[in-house]
Symmetry: C2
Subunit: 446 residues, 2 copies
């Protein structure tokens, strides 16, 4: 073997690195230009929480569809209570009762009342409810001890939702109580934005399936489980390439079937990994119908970095190499109409590039906010944070005593730098970093 033969391409490239790196800004603009909200699908009202409404919801009917009592008490004509006090008890004949779902079918006449429970329909004739605390009972007669104005303690028809109202706007991320309102409106199924289907292609000859004990110089894949969880968090359905082998048990791990897959005896231990072989990588990228393909590993310009070349040859490699650290060897483009993200194999780079670009695309396709899916806090730096002008930095930090402490271990291979961190700070490309005491926005991992 001669160095200049076997390594020639890699060496060439290494000498010059990426011919030209894109800015983070340009890459984000590309993502935003290629990730329109997906079409609608129907979801059961039982299962639509955290889904995104695909269209405005306009109520077709009043909720409730009848006037109802807001109290336990007596439905009557308000006029009949006029002048009632404890010293001027006014008698009313109790002629029936109204329970929720079991209304009084007659008409409440002058001098009459019916016993009514909270939520029960207000009977015809009655226009108010006198609370039980304001009466005395004697056989079939009650005595009003106080007067009530018309409408008192009555919930009017349509008071929760009135017909024709736009109850929710398209794009709303549905809350639990929204499902209650939609259910009340007679919506058994909700029109929500379809979840993006995400094909994960985990490459690397050095890898063993996730959770394998290390063997010799082989290491367990860290990116597969991490990416599957990130995709689920961002509202996508992750599906992992089977590496050309039979998919196990009908399908490979899909992130949103926790109950089924949490059954330990069925944990996937198949080798889903895709070797560093161009034909196998291409096949895995094309294996399933997907909206997005995420390739982990082999995204740079070395001799084992096949994915960028494949994407350039068979599709469109729109961006390759980004002025940022980590994650500089990130690529993106289009293959067979699908969005493709080429993420570095180093796990910190993989996480960072996912969050910057692939996750953003998934969130946008899913109809969610494109923003970081992390809460942020503005806090002062405990010590200076140095960055290089010309690239965006993703700096892991701890928060201690209300101050932000950069984590000094910054290697892209040290994934524990992101588990020991409380979050990260982004340093813009035109910044040399920040002096101690500067207030910075920390995006919190939790």
């Amino acid at each position: 073997m001669t160095a200049d033969h076997s390594m020639s391409r890699a060496a060439d490239v290494r000498m010059c690195g990426f011919a030209r790196r894109s800015t983070v800004q340009a890459a984000l603009a590309w993502v935003d230009g290629h990730s329109p909200r997906l079409e609608a699908e129907r979801a059961s009202v039982w299962l639509a929480a955290v889904r995104v409404l695909a269209a405005d919801v306009v109520s077709q009917a009043d909720v409730p569809q009848f006037a109802r009592s807001m109290m336990d008490g007596y439905a009557l004509r308000a006029a009949d209570t006029q002048g009632a006090t404890a010293y001027n008890r006014l008698p009313l004949a109790v002629i029936g009762q109204s329970l929720p779902g079991k209304p009084f079918e007659g008409i409440v006449g002058k001098g009459q009342a019916i016993c009514i429970m909270t939520g029960a329909p207000l009977p015809a004739g009655a226009d108010a409810v006198l609370p039980a605390e304001q009466i005395e009972i004697q056989g079939d007669t009650i005595f009003a001890l106080d007067e009530v104005p018309p409408g008192k303690n009555v919930g009017r028809r349509g008071e929760d939702v009135s017909a024709g109202t736009t109850v929710f706007k398209a794009g709303r991320v549905l809350r639990p109580q929204d499902l209650g309102v939609l259910s009340s409106m007679g919506q058994r199924e909700i029109s929500v934005v379809r979840k993006p289907r995400v094909q994960l292609v985990i490459t690397g000859n050095e890898l063993l399936p996730a959770g394998s004990p290390a063997e010799g110089y082989q290491i367990a894949d860290a990116n597969g489980p991490m990416l599957a969880a990130l995709v689920a968090r961002d509202g996508g359905n992750a599906r992992i390439a089977s590496g050309g082998r039979e998919p196990p048990d009908g399908s490979a791990p899909v992130a949103d079937q926790p109950e089924r897959e949490a059954d330990a005896s069925r944990s996937p231990m198949i080798n889903y990994l895709v070797p560093d072989d161009p034909a196998e990588i291409l096949a895995a990228m094309r294996e399933n119908s997907a909206d997005i393909v995420i390739v982990s590993g082999g995204s740079s310009v070395g001799q084992e970095d096949h994915a960028p070349i494949l994407l350039a040859e068979h599709g469109d490699l729109a961006i390759h190499g980004i002025a940022m650290r980590p994650s500089s060897p990130t690529g993106m483009g289009i293959l067979d109409g699908k969005l493709v993200f080429l993420l570095p194999g180093n796990p910190v780079s993989c996480l960072c590039a996912y969050d910057f670009f692939a996750g953003r695309a998934i969130r946008r396709l899913a109809g969610r906010s494109a923003d970081w899916p992390y809460a942020s806090r503005r806090l002062p730096l405990a010590r200076k944070l140095v960055s290089q002008v010309g690239r965006v930095d993703y700096a892991r930090v701890r928060i201690a005593n209300g101050q932000v402490e950069p984590i000094s271990i910054s290697g892209a291979s040290i994934l524990t730098s992101t588990t020991q961190a409380d979050g990260f700070v982004i340093v813009a490309a035109d910044s040399e970093g920040f002096a101690a005491g500067t207030n910075v926005d920390v995006f919190l991992y939790d």
Copy 2:
């Protein structure tokens, strides 16, 4: 029918209300005294995101298990580069290469180098990596243009995780990157706190199944879908009572099978509702093995309020009636060793009582923080917020122009008051409310 006969119990109770209301504080203390963290179960590393670690995780091995290159370049003996500059190029013989997973098996001797890629094992003999940018190539010889100290550009064995380290503490809510680290450590399955099983019992003769169009004086159940979503959010597995009928399709809606159930053609439209009948309610409370039973509706002291009496007769009704608004007719206790929460049927009360008590119990059983699962912001009130001394108030508010505006529609039946709100403010029992301009904590629904 005579009022004093059929309504006697209800009327008695109505005249005096609850004999004695518990304080919110006492009810919370009861919850905390009866919701110990559940036992551990195993979950696949692919599906353990957002699960809670049941035990500390101590690494059994170094990650990585070998020293590796941090750069694309040449592995060599650092001493061989001593004195190298562009004007004093020092030659080294390239004798092989090391790729990730395909190490160089020989020993790098004095005056020798091997071509090495990022992540590849450092060969025996070598103690540093000279980046590709700092060499020139001539055939099988490279010339070092700069010197490197020992250890330079080398990731040491165990630099990510060293054997014996406690990597994660019990109780940690697992992040996506945590799964990557656990996978690297050879953990195919993780010991996590079991998810609480929650039996939902939705009662009310006036109810139709969720999402039904209203008919006559029947209204669609709003609480079932809302509670199922709340339980899922808090880390529980909701299962809905089948109301004594055959459960549909093997099981009723389970909140965390979104993919399967989102299939619209299979949306449950069975009548899972439990009639206001003591025997049926008791059967539904006992139907499935569960950690927690949540009964919606019939929780007060009226003639159709069977659940509190059943709980008192067959188990322990520890608390019934709480000094708060809404949700005052809330109960809790123990039946057959299971925690039981009796929530009011009015949907706002149901939401509020769930969040205060049942949700807290689920979060605690699941090993999560007992706190409100809502972010909070401290903001000034736009106008005064009045409350009554002696009870806790749950006031829905909007945020506009950075100020907090109480929502005036406060009926417990108006669920849209919680969908139009941005969040809520809690007013303590000893407070008469807050003046305009007071800074208050708003818990945000989103």
